[in-house]
């Protein structure tokens, strides 16, 4: 899977342009990614990729690399 798809899902949930979501995007680097918008990021990623994060993990995946790791642990591989 192209990581651009993941970035697009995250960008939509945060209501920002895809360009704002870099490879290392996180709550620390994207202003719109606050604690409450994060809930929508989790819901959007779960729906888009058909996965369910554990409750604790859902709170912890506050950046693109962490989300990507979580998806890869569920068998979703990224080509770029």
């Amino acid at each position: 899977m192209d990581s651009g798809e993941l970035k697009h899902v995250v960008a939509l949930a945060l209501n920002v342009d895809d360009a704002e979501i870099g490879d290392d995007a996180s709550m620390d680097t994207v202003e719109a990614w606050d604690s409450l918008r994060h809930l929508y990021v989790v819901m959007a990623v779960e729906e888009a990729f058909g996965v369910t994060f554990d409750d604790g993990e859902a709170v912890a995946i506050t950046g693109l690399p962490l989300i990507r790791d979580g998806l890869e642990r569920r068998g979703i591989t990224f080509t770029s």
Partner: protein
């Protein structure tokens, strides 16, 4: 539940919401927040406050009278009055005792308990357990009462944006086997004990201390632990999440409720929210939301209903009940 004697359920509900409205714009101006921020962050558009001369007893009694009327129960038939609040009029005696003398619940024992915003659910658990243990208690009155506005600094954007005042009450009574409360669950995660607090005394300026709140910690606690609390309660009831017809959550924040519904795999129409209109009314939020949901016929006889809350500390609670509507039952 005693299969012979039946169970304990909610047989009457009432609420009181004060008349004085406080809109976001006023708070945003005082707290130096950009207009529109509160609604964006919380979904809340306004809240209602008790006037300066108003008391916790008055609003608790107003909600209680409505609940007693709805249940068709005389105050003298109440065997237990349980006040759920952290904002009573006095440090002691208990708010429940003042309600007791005002209503004339002469046959009841009365006391308060504190579990903050999940106190009503915990109170319902304690009351129903007492009723199951003591057959002489035919009815109990459980009241969630909050005058949080007296403990807010309106220039503090971390806490001022959420809270409103109100009261909600439920009369518990005997219901047929299979109805009423099926299971309760309470757990605590105390690592973030200091994250929402109201300390005694005055601050460095000699002002009475106000609620202090770390919103990020609240979010983490709720997102991490509240879904599990619901799942455990449902499992204790011998049911699955698919069996749940309706959820009533503590009305802390609209976004959190949306998230909880998503975690529980439930469609949005299977919950009721009023946080948009009245804000977070702390201990009163669950009974007020439940009262309105029943008034609007969103909950029907036989529905499996979950009440779920979280209070500072943090304490998580969930109760599962099969809704009993005596009017429908009588016509069956």
């Amino acid at each position: 539940m005693d299969e012979q004697r039946g169970g304990v359920g909610i047989i009457g509900l009432g609420k009181f919401i004060p008349a004085r409205a406080l809109d976001n714009a006023e708070i945003e101006a005082q707290a130096g927040i950009e207009p529109g921020t509160i609604e964006k962050q919380t979904g809340i558009t306004r809240r209602f406050l008790v006037d300066e001369g108003g008391s916790a007893t008055e609003i608790a009694v107003a909600a209680s009278r409505q609940a007693l009327d709805a249940a068709g129960v005389d105050p003298k038939q109440i065997g237990l009055v349980l006040g759920c609040t952290f904002t009573p009029d006095y440090v002691f005696p208990a708010l429940a005792c003042d309600v007791h003398r005002t209503l004339g619940t002469t046959g009841a024992g009365a006391f308060d308990l504190m579990a903050n915003c999940t106190a009503f659910q915990v109170g319902a658990m304690v009351a129903s357990d007492r009723m199951l243990a003591d057959p002489s208690i035919e009815n109990a009155l459980v009241i969630g009462t909050a005058i949080v506005s007296r403990h807010i600094r309106w220039d503090d954007p971390n806490s001022a944006i959420y809270f409103g005042d109100g009261a909600g009450a439920a009369v518990l009574g005997r219901v047929p086997p299979g109805y009423g409360f099926l299971a309760h669950e309470v757990s605590s995660q105390t690592r973030a004990y200091e994250s929402v607090r109201l300390r005694r005394g005055t601050n460095e300026n000699g002002e009475r201390r106000a609620i202090e709140m770390n919103g990020m910690d609240v979010w983490k606690q709720v997102a991490q632990h509240q879904p599990g609390s619901v799942r455990r309660a449902v499992e204790k009831a011998g049911l699955t999440l698919r069996d749940v017809d309706f959820y009533i959550f503590h009305q802390a924040n609209l976004h959190l409720i949306t998230y909880l519904m998503s975690r529980l795999g439930a469609r949005p129409e299977r919950t009721y929210t009023n946080v948009e209109r009245i804000g977070n009314t702390a201990e009163a939020s669950i009974p007020i939301a439940l009262t309105e949901a029943v008034e609007q016929k969103k909950i029907a006889h036989g529905d499996v209903v979950v009440l779920s809350g979280v209070g500072a500390g943090f304490t998580f609670g969930a109760s599962v009940l099969r809704w009993y509507d005596p009017r429908v039952a009588a016509s069956e």
